[in-house]
């Protein structure tokens, strides 16, 4: 028996729509098996993971809060992946954006600085993220160095830099030696949408980003260029598109969005800068981008779904003592299934059973 791929004459649009759903279904089946292996009741565990967070207002808000950075980063990454360049260092750009914006928050702390502080922080975060993303992009365009490896290496560098700042110069003097800055002033904090709630202005910004990306990709020449360079590099060359310029552009946009997401996260739900404030949003966003089929609206839905797994994972840890790492396993398995199902869009799978006659014909 042999598995054979046959290229479809035309890409299947039906499967393009249902493949993420098939992937989620397969992941849930696999997770049930994993829960059973861990000695937990699969039905109960799946309920805690996927249903319980949807039943109370606090968790629903928390899902939107967690989806905000995921969606913003994934939109930027999708532009890179559509152009067939691989920014996998969004986590580093996210951290550097948080650091750059926090700089202003720390410097203006306790002063009578006005409401300009927060917009300036957001701008700083976006600019720093873009510049940090341009390092691997320039190394690629100018020297031909693999952007995959350089962008990933810079994640570790950003992480260590943040660690240095909050343990050294930016440490809160009144913080009992904990590695964290002081709580940001109200003018340096992202406002919540409803008094007493968790949902903050960042969610609106994320929606604007989704809309802007949809317009960019569907209605502008630049968006068209990005897709052509990715899908048909030769055609793009004949069309006179400058692929190097597009690499720089897509990296800058994705870095800016990751940096913006970073400072919104720190100045919003977290409220201060500390090491490990990100549960790996920059990496999870890679899964969000693929699960959303590199489409802005798809990414919005996928971001909410993966945010649900973060919340579900936390609740499962509290309620059923299921280790938090299960969430990462879940996310990894999900990405595998998404990619495998995507293969169905271009290929038909066929099992071939070798018949005896073929063999006897050889003799």
């Amino acid at each position: 028996m042999q598995l054979v791929l046959e290229k479809r004459v035309e890409r299947s649009n039906t499967i393009a729509l249902v493949s993420p759903l098939i992937a989620i279904g397969l992941t849930i089946v696999t997770m049930s098996v994993l829960f059973a292996i861990l000695g937990k009741n699969p039905v109960q565990a799946l309920g805690v993971y996927f249903i319980d967070p949807l039943t109370d207002g606090y968790s629903l808000q928390e899902i939107a809060v967690k989806a905000t950075p995921l969606v913003m980063i994934a939109i930027g990454l999708s532009l890179c992946y559509l152009a067939n360049v691989w920014n996998i260092g969004a986590e580093g750009q996210f951290l550097i954006g948080a650091v750059a914006g926090s700089w202003l928050a720390v410097k203006t702390q306790g002063t009578d600085a006005g409401p300009w502080v927060l917009p300036a922080m957001l701008l700083l975060g976006a600019v720093a993220g873009a510049l940090y993303a341009l390092i691997p992009a320039i190394c690629r365009v100018r020297f031909g160095a693999s952007e995959i490896l350089t962008s990933l290496m810079l994640v570790y560098v950003a992480d260590l830099f943040l660690d240095y700042l909050v343990r050294g110069p930016w440490r809160d003097p009144a913080g009992y030696n904990f590695p964290t800055t002081a709580e940001f002033d109200p003018v340096a904090t992202v406002p919540v949408l409803v008094e007493g709630g968790r949902l903050h202005l960042g969610a609106i910004i994320a929606l604007v980003v989704v809309a802007a990306a949809a317009v960019l990709l569907d209605r502008t020449i630049k968006g068209f260029e990005i897709r052509v360079v990715g899908a048909a590099p030769r055609a793009a060359r004949f069309g006179g598109f400058n692929s190097n310029q597009l690499i720089l552009l897509t990296f800058a946009i994705s870095g800016a969005l990751a940096g913006l997401a970073g400072i919104i996260e720190v100045a919003g739900p977290v409220g201060h800068l500390q090491p490990g404030f990100s549960p790996g949003y920059g990496f999870t966003a890679i899964i969000v981008a693929f699960l959303g089929r590199l489409n802005p609206v798809g990414i919005l839905i996928a971001g909410l779904f993966l945010a649900l797994t973060f919340i579900g994972g936390e609740q499962a840890q509290i309620a059923m003592k299921i280790p938090l790492d299960v969430t990462k396993v879940f996310q990894g398995i999900l990405l595998f299934y998404v990619l495998a199902c995507d293969s169905l869009i271009l290929y038909r799978f066929r099992l071939i059973f070798p018949s005896r006659q073929v063999h006897s014909g050889n003799i």
Partner: protein
């Protein structure tokens, strides 16, 4: 001179996992497959390797567990990229994400436990030679194994017909297929070899480098191994130079932290990662004339029928 000897010994120990993982990945890439999941296979190898050694008390069993775990994970990757023609970059990333989660699950039961690390060779007389004795004749078995591995891979790639076929599959899969070579099967074995090496490299960390398991203990070594393959221009011999250079950077920054030069420790810890970026830029720049990378590296192959 004691300190000099100690530094060389620790450089060799820090370089060995890089060398083993990079050697495996080099074979995988020479067959035309880019497996970015080295970090994921290493960290699962570390968790399973430690688990095996802790349960049985045997370093050998631990190493075998690590190899087995790495190979199993590489089979998932092979199914995706060779069986289902999925993009190799994305699949490799998925493998790393999955591996980090799995290692946390597997290793959760062992955190805080200790084992007796792998013994070092001792040959009376030879190992006692001042200066070079312990460096040449007093290493753990993995160090010698890693060097044997490099020589073996070099002999295989350049001195055997099978090695030639493997390189052909990596340079032009269409021609190799037309000549009747089973491209996908060759790549399957190459991916499995890469997985086995990554698993062993991961297992080295808790079995010999530090005798305990902590989550995330590979700390990007899998990614540095990938960069080393580029550094070596896909030649096994140059891997040795690259790996020992990186081991040296890692150890020297540790010693510099200990000396208290007034430089924040985080800046020193960032050095190996920054060095990787700089080396990648320099190597890629020097190669503008023509790349030595396998020509079909990273491209999907679906045989025509």
């Amino acid at each position: 001179m004691e300190i000099f000897e100690a530094i060389i010994l620790s450089v060799l120990a820090a370089s060995t996992p890089l060398l083993i993982a990079a050697t495996g990945e080099l074979v995988t890439e020479r067959s035309g497959v880019l497996n970015l999941g080295v970090e994921g296979m290493m960290i699962v190898g570390a968790a399973c390797g430690f688990g095996g050694a802790w349960l049985t008390g045997s370093i050998t069993v631990g190493a075998i567990c690590g190899i087995g775990a790495g190979t199993l994970l590489s089979l998932i990757f092979a199914l995706m990229t060779l069986g289902l023609a999925v993009n190799q970059v994305a699949s490799g990333l998925a493998l790393t994400i999955l591996g980090v989660g799995l290692s946390g699950l597997i290793g959760a039961g062992f955190v805080g436990e200790r084992i007796t690390p792998a013994p070092h060779l001792y040959i009376p007389g030879l190992t006692d030679i001042p200066m070079v004795g312990r460096i040449l004749f007093g290493e753990d078995a993995f160090v010698y194994l890693s060097l044997a591995l490099v020589i073996g891979v070099w002999l295989f790639l350049y001195r055997t017909p099978a090695g030639l076929v493997l390189r052909a599959a990596g340079d032009n899969h269409v021609s190799a297929h037309a000549l009747g070579y089973p491209v996908l099967r060759i790549r399957l074995f190459a991916v499995m070899f890469g997985g086995a090496c990554a698993g062993l490299a991961g297992a080295y960390l808790p079995l010999a480098y530090t005798p305990f398991f902590i989550p995330g203990m590979t700390a990007g070594r899998g990614w540095i191994a990938l960069a080393l393959v580029v550094f070596a221009s896909w030649f096994p011999g140059r891997l040795v130079i690259g790996a020992y250079l990186f081991g040296a950077v890692t150890i020297l920054q540790l010693h510099a932290q200990g000396l208290g030069l007034g430089i924040p420790s985080q800046f020193m810890s960032a050095l190996p990662y920054l060095a990787t970026v700089i080396v990648l830029v320099l190597i890629s720049r020097a190669r503008t004339g023509g790349s030595t990378a396998p020509a079909a590296l990273g491209t999907v192959f679906v045989p025509d029928r």
